[in-house]
């Protein structure tokens, strides 16, 4: 087991490479998840905001809709 983790003395390099790779990919996945969630709630709120206002006043300020810049 120890032998496996030490990678013949090159643990830093090997795990550094694999760690960064899967770490970054994991971060990307999480970031995609969260941005999807925030987008959904933001647009949802926007639509809800729009619907009743339209009915009552006819005015529809589409505000705060600048999208997330990647």
């Amino acid at each position: 087991m120890m032998e496996f983790f030490s990678q013949g003395g090159y643990a830093g390099y090997v795990w550094g490479a694999f760690g960064m790779t899967f770490g970054l990919l994991l971060i990307e996945v999480l970031q995609l998840r969260s941005s999807r969630k925030t987008t959904l709630t933001r647009i949802g709120r926007l639509l809800r905001l729009r619907a009743p206002r339209q009915a009552s006043t006819g005015a529809d300020p589409q505000r705060g809709t600048s999208g997330p810049t990647s």
Binding site: Q7, Y13, A17, F18, E28, S35, R36, P68
Partner: protein, 252 residues
Amino acid sequence: MTINWFKFASPAAFYPIAGRLIPWFSRVALALVLIGLFWGFFLTADQLGGSNPQKEYYRIIYVHVPAAWMSMWLYLVLAGWSAIGLVFNTRLSFMMAKAVAPTGAIFTFLALWTGALWGRPSWGTYWDWDPRLTSELLLFFLYIGYIALHSAIDDTRRADRAAALLAIVGLVMVPVIFLSINCPDPNQCAALHQRSDPGSIHLSILIPMLTMTLGLWSYSFAAVFARLRTIILTRESDNAWVRDVIAQETTA
């Protein structure tokens, strides 16, 4: 039978298709990466390092080479969608291009990072100004340029078109850059990075490496589609179908 491809070129049509594809690509990606890793770490100990075995750092090949390949491939995809967008003025192509860029940049960074970590034990330095390394670095700058330009422009349409033009100019320049760094006279420049042909790699290393490549490829599809879906939603937010989608997906 003729398929109306333009039907799929509409964001509204592609949104659900992408949604259905993502789980499949994710599963395939996960499976292939796990197989590749298992194979690479537990079944190939004898062949490591080619001529001088037992150099465990050679395992970096399983992430380094796939990342390097993906970085180049994704740039082609990025420039391709950009060109299509500029010529046919289709919205989906621009969104596609925008969705590809971050993933491409990540793989480029990974190729640099893993290469550096490989270079230290193998060449004795993290970095050198070897042609291939340099061109990978420049490719990274091109990705960053695309992303920076896109986000520096508020107006979506201008951002799409300007960044697309940049991607295409970059594509024209890439071969020039690559050749120039390779020197007109190869004797002048010592290339550390071998002109490797995959044939020279031992088969038992090649197979897990290719497995990993396919896995990451599949991952890219999933990631790009996922990003594409948020982009579509943001940009089409005043269309009726988005309202239905939101209603569906927030309750679900």
